[in-house]
Symmetry: C2
Subunit: 284 residues, 2 copies
């Protein structure tokens, strides 16, 4: 996703310095004019705004804060007045921690996770949920708008991540709904594509029903969005919910079922592989 | 809903004979030209096609089969070649039973539950999911199309009801998703309407998010669709799932939470009142 998003910045005329652990994944960007740096620090030394898009919160810590000492982090090279924008789906508390650390380095930060998956990243139609200082948001907004069509400032540092957790709570429910509904339809002997015609446009309609149910029916469990990344997101949401002292029984159930999906060998399948675990649960 | 749907038939030029336990609820239809009958049997004696739209499966049994002897049922007055169309959300097995009984009386039947609620009934935009003989469906189709914009034949008797169960399984998941997401957003201190701007159009988007979340935010728990009727629907779906020997853990959880909604005094509120039970669960 990071590659597609960086490509939109190049298309819009921005000068890019890029870094990726697997350099070959950045070759396309380099061929389009991006300079390759040797570390996150080196990117920051040459950039006014540094975007990060990695996998897990510990990767965010390493890349931005330089923790675990594998390679120098962004903050070690931050320019005076530089801005760090983390677009990874990560922990709200980590976004607050990064914001404080960035300010101590004389810069500013935003947390800006996205929704829309690989397809949205390629098409530039992501929803970008932004936390952090408003004036910093306004300065970065034109760059966000090359990558997404829904760009909304949600509040102070961490608010972007919290908003993404709201998004993922909705996605989790959508997935269990689609998979249980399809399992029912299959077992009832219905013509499943025909059933979708009846249920897609009314009160049962949803993005996963329109976009993932057809993949499931076609037996396509390739990743748009990895099961293991979704498990990471739900873990963060449930930890935050626990910290806020609220019960989210639906999300907790879906999280457990996705652990079953991963246990059955589908951690690197798409989230629609929940269907396989549900069928398995019922002996299929 | 039945009144709105009957109104569309009048608007399309059909002659109607109507019956309702509370006669005053049919006064509007009578003023628009419908004749009032004294029993379901009397409706059938004067009609080629008899539509029923009642509350629970036992009401369907009484009105069509004439069981429990409160008043004569539709089949006692069915004309030769007459058709019974039950639009109540009811049990698939009951639809099969009615179909057999109707055939023994020399007629035909369809099960044709709807989705779209009071708003869809008024606007004539319902999704109508139809089970039964195809040629009977084709004969009734023009009448369905006065009431709905998505009219699909789903298979033999009972297939309409099964399709509605698929629909309600999706709705159940949608409701828990919306309510848990809103609870998270509230507790995280986010600007909830602003959060909806970020999450409504992407992978988290759904009909209940677009249509019921704004009502919840506004504190509006008035019924579009009653909690007690939704509990009835989920009970049927779970009994069918049990009969088909499949596990639907998400639907079972939502069903339990809706029993909590009812237990807290909201059986006659709208389904969005799940939010109240979730807040209550977390001490709110």
């Amino acid at each position: 996703m990071g590659r597609s998003m960086a490509g939109h910045l190049i298309d819009a005329g921005y000068n890019l310095v890029v870094y990726n652990r697997s350099a070959d994944k950045a070759a396309d960007l380099v061929s389009r004019g991006a300079a390759m740096a040797e570390s996150p620090r080196a990117v920051a030394e040459q950039s006014d705004i540094v975007f990060t898009m990695v996998g897990y919160p510990q990767d965010v810590r390493e890349v931005i804060l330089g923790q675990y000492a594998k390679r120098p982090g962004v903050l070690e090279g931050l320019r005076p007045g530089g801005t760090v924008v983390d677009m990874t789906t990560s922990e709200p508390a980590l976004a607050v921690e990064i914001d404080a650390a960035t300010q101590r380095c004389g810069g500013t930060s935003l947390d800006a996770p996205v929704s829309g998956g690989d397809i949205g990243a390629k098409a530039g139609t992501l929803s970008i949920m932004v936390g952090g200082d408003l004036s910093t948001f306004q300065r970065v907004q034109p760059l966000f708008e090359t990558m997404g069509k829904t760009v909304v400032h949600q509040g102070a540092a961490g608010a972007g991540q919290h908003t993404k957790m709201v998004n993922q709570t909705l996605v989790a429910a959508g997935m269990i709904g689609v998979c249980e509904a399809l399992l029912y339809a299959e077992k009832a002997g219905l013509d499943v594509p025909n059933v979708l015609r009846s249920v897609s446009t009314g009160a049962a309609g949803s993005w996963p029903l329109s976009n993932l149910a057809p993949r499931i029916i076609a037996g396509d469990f390739e990743p748009g969005f990895y099961v293991e990344h979704f498990i990471k997101d739900m873990k963060i949401a449930l930890e935050e919910a626990s910290r806020m002292n609220i019960a989210l029984p639906g999300l907790a159930l879906v999280n457990q079922l996705y652990h079953a999906v991963a246990a059955q060998g589908h951690a690197r399948s798409g989230t629609q592989a929940l269907m396989l675990a549900l069928r398995h649960l019922s002996g299929g």
